[in-house]
Point group: C2
Chain length 148, copies 2
DNA sequence: ACGAGAATGTTGGTTGAACCAACGTTGGTG
DNA sequence: CACCAACGTTGGTTCAACCAACATTCTCGT
């Protein structure tokens, strides 16, 4: 024999939490590799997507929308600002806030990321026919909507 | 308003990789909290389960079965050995190896963990009726079987 | 029989995601 | 005006998942 010498324990094989975890791990590996082609990570994509869809906003508001913690948001904005994919400007109406605005380069990059990500999703879901993909999306959506 | 001020971006809401991730995060939070009641973590459960189902084995073999890295296995075995839930003994037939054996206390603890975990799965899947739960398990199984 | 290469346990890292606490600044409200 | 909340920021922590290197031990081909 040259391979894993047997299956994982029965208890683990069908445990929903573990299956979900394992699937997420696979998805993340594929997605990270895809976004890595552009030198970015998941946080960056989430932030650019939020900016493009909802327009300029404060870091705190963006954090609320994307689920990114305030402190992690700082670093994420720093990264993208360095690459000129967004701009950070003080809010004159509320001097506590920074207003974050996506740049033209940011929009272009986002379009590129969308393409990379679509391919990644397709790879992730490749064993499932379209109906099953939608089915999976529905089931997961019900789960995440119910909790939190 | 006092709440999240709007939904997450459309791009993110239905992205399969992100849904899977989010679901895994929810599952992990629930499972970690459950196992935490026994002062243990997921690695510990996986190891005890593998030991109980397949009998004594070397650390490397256990790592292969559970997907735990050799180096992480060391710490996991250390933890469980300290609590006397398993025993680590040199293999006389191969002096590179340690043979890990679950103890009676380990079996009892595993039974306890099984109960905690069953409740956790139930909480995780609570929004889904039984047929959908099985459906989800099938879909995820197809995904993880295909990759890896 | 011997030497090369593989497997094993172990140490000591690194990374990314997800958190949390504290602080100074600034806004809003009683 | 006093108090409290929100904001950005710094500087952590935890856990899972890795990887590289090393000494010891085994196996296999020649």
């Amino acid at each position: 024999m040259d391979t894993p010498e047997g299956p994982p324990p029965q208890r683990l094989r069908t445990l929903p939490s573990r299956l979900t975890n394992h699937a997420a791990q696979i998805a993340n590996r594929i997605v990270d590799q895809a976004l890595g082609q552009a030198g970015l990570r998941r946080y960056h994509y989430a932030l650019l997507a939020a900016l493009e869809e909802y327009g300029p906003a404060s870091q705190a508001a963006l954090g609320r929308r994307t689920g990114i913690d305030r402190s992690d948001m700082v670093a994420t904005v720093n990264d993208l600002a360095e690459r000129q994919l967004l701009e950070r400007a003080p809010d004159p109406d509320d001097r506590r806030r920074n207003i974050i605005t996506i740049t033209e380069a940011g929009r272009n990059q986002l379009t590129h990321l969308d393409r990379l990500l679509a391919a990644a999703q397709d790879e992730f879901l490749s064993p499932l026919p379209p109906a099953d993909r939608q089915n999976l999306i529905d089931l997961l959506t019900r789960l995440v909507d119910h909790h939190g």
